[in-house]
Every structure is written in C-alpha cells, then in structure tokens.
C-alpha cells in the first residue's frame, strides 16, 4: 500500500496547481496516491495533458462547488 499525499492548490491561479502537482510527484513513489484540490478552471485540461504525458493513472476527477478534485495513482515511477 502506497502513501496518500494531499495537495491543496485551491485559490492558486495557473500555473499554481500543476506546479504543486509536479512538486508532490517528485517526492512520490510508485503506488502512492496524490489527491489534489484546485479552483483554477485551466487545471482540468492541464492535468489531462500531464496524465497523458507521464502515463500515471487518473483514478477520479470531479468538480463540486467550483473545486476540482483529482485523485492520481502513481504508476509510472
């Protein structure tokens, strides 16, 4: 079982959320879960591009009350 890393990037404008994700990803190990919260509407397409490039697994992406929640399983490290 990997670790669960929670990243709060709410209120951060572009490129904040992806910057935070990259920082968390650098520290993560294979099997870890990264849970990230963001409010920047540009985060969704950016995240999709990032997932496609890195080959990690997007377990969940949802939006509630303007907050985007994404759950990523680290599989490419």
């Amino acid at each position: 079982m990997g670790e669960r890393i929670v990243v709060d990037a709410k209120g951060m404008a572009c490129p904040g959320p992806i910057t935070k994700l990259v920082k968390a990803y650098r520290k993560a190990k294979s099997g870890d879960i990264i849970e990230i919260y963001a409010t920047d509407p540009g985060f969704k397409p950016d995240l999709e591009a990032w997932i496609k490039r890195t080959g990690n697994e997007l377990v969940e992406i949802s939006e509630e009350g303007g907050v985007i929640k994404a759950v990523i399983k680290v599989t490419a490290k």
Binding site: C14, P15, V22, R26, W50
Partner: protein, 393 residues
C-alpha cells in the same frame, strides 16, 4: 531615539527599501555578503551573447545613499522574537524593524548530476563568472544539441529560459551555425509558458527562431558523463551543451521561529503588506517570500516601495504586479499580471523593446535614487495595468 531598520540583502528589494527609508531620516543599515551587485538578467547576455560581466556589476557601496550604513557580511540567523540578526562571523545586530530581502537560494543538489553539469559548463543563474564560463563553451559550439531546461517549475524570472533560447538562436544565426546546432527548450509547463495566453504569443516566435520546444519536461537527473538529461515525466534528451535552471528554495539562513517559512523555505508573508506572519516589525521582500507572484526584480522593487510606504504610515498594498520582459531579436513583450488578473495578451513590438532598453539603462539609477524614478514607474504601471489594458496591449 531614531528607529533602527536593518535591511538584509542589497539586491533590488533591499537597495530600494534602504535608499527610500534613508530619505526619511531612519537609521538604516544594509547587510550584504557581496562587494558587487549583479544585474541578474545580464547573465543571459553574458552567457549567450558574450557581453563582458563588468557591464552588469557595480560596487554595492556606489548603490547606497551616503546616509545608509553598509555592513559587509553573511547573515547566519534572524531571530524574529528577539529582534536580532547574527552574521556568520559572529557579529550581532539588533533592530527595531527588519526587512529581509535575501533572495532565493539556488539548490544545485536537488537534482543528481546538476552540480557536475554547472561546474563543467557554467549557466546563467549561479553568477557572472558561471555565465562567462557558459559563454566560453557556447561561443565555440558549431554542431550538436544545446539544451535549455529547468529542474523545477518555480524559478526566478519565468521567461528566463525563453529569453535564453531566443538569444542563443540569435547568436548561432549570426555565427552562421544555426543549421548545425539544434536549440532544445525543455520546459516544466504544459504549454510554452505557464500562462496559455502568453504561450500562444511566444509559440510562433519560438518556431520562427528555430527553437525546438519540449513541454512537460522537468529535469529529474543529469548524467553528466554520458550527457543525458532525464525528466520526471519519463523522457530523456542527449546534449552537447546544457544549462539547467536550479531548484529555488528560501534563503539559506536560520530563521526563528521555524514556522515563519513554508515547505520550500520561503518566508510566509501577507501577500498585500509583505509583513511576515505574526510580526508587525518584520517584512520579507522579493524572491525570498512566498507571495504568489513571479520572482523578479520588478516585484522586489514594487514590493519594497509598498513596505517603505507602510513603515511611513500609509496603507499601501502590493498588487502582485509583474512586468517580465521576453526579448527576441529586435522586439520585446512583457508578461503583465497582478494577483487579481492572470497574464494579459501582450504582443511583441519594437516600442516594448525600447521600453525594456530604457528599463535596463535606468536600472542602477533606479536603485540608488528610487524616489526619482517612482513617478515614472508608477505612471507606466498604471497605464499598463491589466484592468486598463485587459483586452491586450
């Protein structure tokens, strides 16, 4: 008794703070470890166009007003609760107010192999000598691959690697070797720039300049022996010459209490007042703080003005304004944003290049006599405020 203000660091933020406060009769002391102040963007011109380093350096003593005390020394510890600063040689300084303007710490150990790379080739971040070293390699390059990359998405002057690529391409073209040297710009962002608005403006310029862009490439390790850079995202590039922007951290000092810093060591401030959280007699200006804006000389300069006005009793607030220049062959654009407004579309033009030339020409004078330049800068920043030119400029 006259209020004693300690200013730590003689970069743009420290010099503007100290020189403005000196005008108002405070007892101002600046602590700086170097004898010389370096105009940091100059490193791009030293490294990629062979400018002499002296052009971008001035003795710190010539940049402070006569009434400012200058202490040469390296800050070891700042104790916010006790209001003391200790230098590495053991000297202890007390203060009534402190302005920390120590800049960011460049961490060449965050990425394996990075220190070997920078020792071999130099770069355009570590110092004027390293920039000169880079030029000594770059000027002799006639074939192969030049890689310009970054170890982390957070670094000083967001357009720096783009400027590096434009300047490098220009030099290679002038030397007639552009076709045999490929310039690869590897960026840790999703697009050619963190902001998509800016990315759309620079992308065609990069194509025009013959720069190959690789996005989502955050340097994870460098194999200096076999000349390969590996990315966090799982790719690799082979290089003949490379400059990698190091990871940036908060200043390498002991700061008490430890809670005054975030995970990366940046000093936690109120983004509008630049006051250190929990201390009404301590401020952090420029790259060393965690304000959510770009780490650039302009934000340090504007932040310093706000801090000085607050010390004088005005309710000034920093709006996070950036004005990062992107320079191509003969033209320039600026990345203009505030806390409330993401970067606006700013097209490349000759006029903006002239403005940038004027900003650079006025640099030394604007540090020593900021009060003379304030009205001019203020008018410029107001005229180009995103709320006024939101549709673009």
């Amino acid at each position: 008794m006259t209020e004693r203000i300690l200013v730590l660091g003689a970069g743009p933020g420290g010099l503007v703070s100290a020189n403005l406060l000196a005008l108002h009769g405070y007892d101002v002391t600046v602590v700086e470890k170097s004898e010389y102040h370096l105009f940091q963007p100059g490193m791009l011109w030293i490294a990629f166009q062979g400018h002499p380093p002296e052009k971008y350096m001035r003795p710190v003593k010539d940049l402070v007003k006569p009434t400012v005390n200058l202490v040469q020394g390296k800050v070891a510890e700042v104790n916010l609760a006790e209001r003391t600063v200790t230098l590495e040689d053991g000297r202890r300084l007390d203060y009534d107010r402190v302005i920390i303007a120590l800049g960011a710490h460049l961490d060449y150990d965050a990425v394996p192999g990075h220190s070997s790379l920078v020792e071999e080739f130099g770069d355009y971040f570590r110092g004027a000598d390293y920039a000169a070293r880079f030029w000594s390699h770059f000027k002799a390059m006639s074939r192969g691959t030049l890689v310009i990359a970054a170890a982390d998405p957070l670094y000083k002057c967001p357009p720096a690697p783009l400027k590096a690529a434009f300047l490098a391409a220009e030099t290679l073209r002038r030397r007639g070797v552009k076709d045999s040297v490929s310039v690869v710009l590897a960026l840790p962002f999703i697009h050619e720039y963190p902001s998509e608005t800016v990315a759309e403006i620079v992308a065609p310029k990069l194509r025009e300049a013959g720069v190959e862009v690789k996005t989502m490439f955050t340097v994870d390790s460098i194999d200096a022996e076999n000349r390969v850079i590996y990315s966090l995202e799982g790719e690799s590039i082979t290089y003949d010459l490379a400059a990698v922007i190091p990871a940036h951290k908060g200043p390498a000092i002991r700061l008490l209490p430890e809670e005054a810093r975030d995970d990366d060591g940046f000093i936690k401030v109120d983004k509008y007042t630049l006051q250190i959280e929990g201390y009404d007699d301590a401020y952090a200006v420029g790259d060393c703080n965690n304000a959510p804006t770009s780490k650039t000389g302009v934000t340090a300069h504007l932040g310093a003005e706000v801090v000085v006005e607050r010390i004088l009793g005005f309710d000034s607030r920093f709006n996070g304004r950036t004005n990062c220049p992107i320079v191509t062959d003969g033209e320039a654009s600026f990345v203009i944003s505030t806390y409330d407004h993401p970067p606006i579309p700013v097209k490349f033009s000759i006029f903006k290049r002239l403005l940038e030339d004027a900003f650079i020409a006025s640099y030394w004078s604007s540090l020593r006599d900021p009060e003379k330049w304030s009205p001019i800068f203020r008018a410029y920043f107001e005229a180009t405020d995103p709320s006024r030119v939101g549709g673009g400029w």
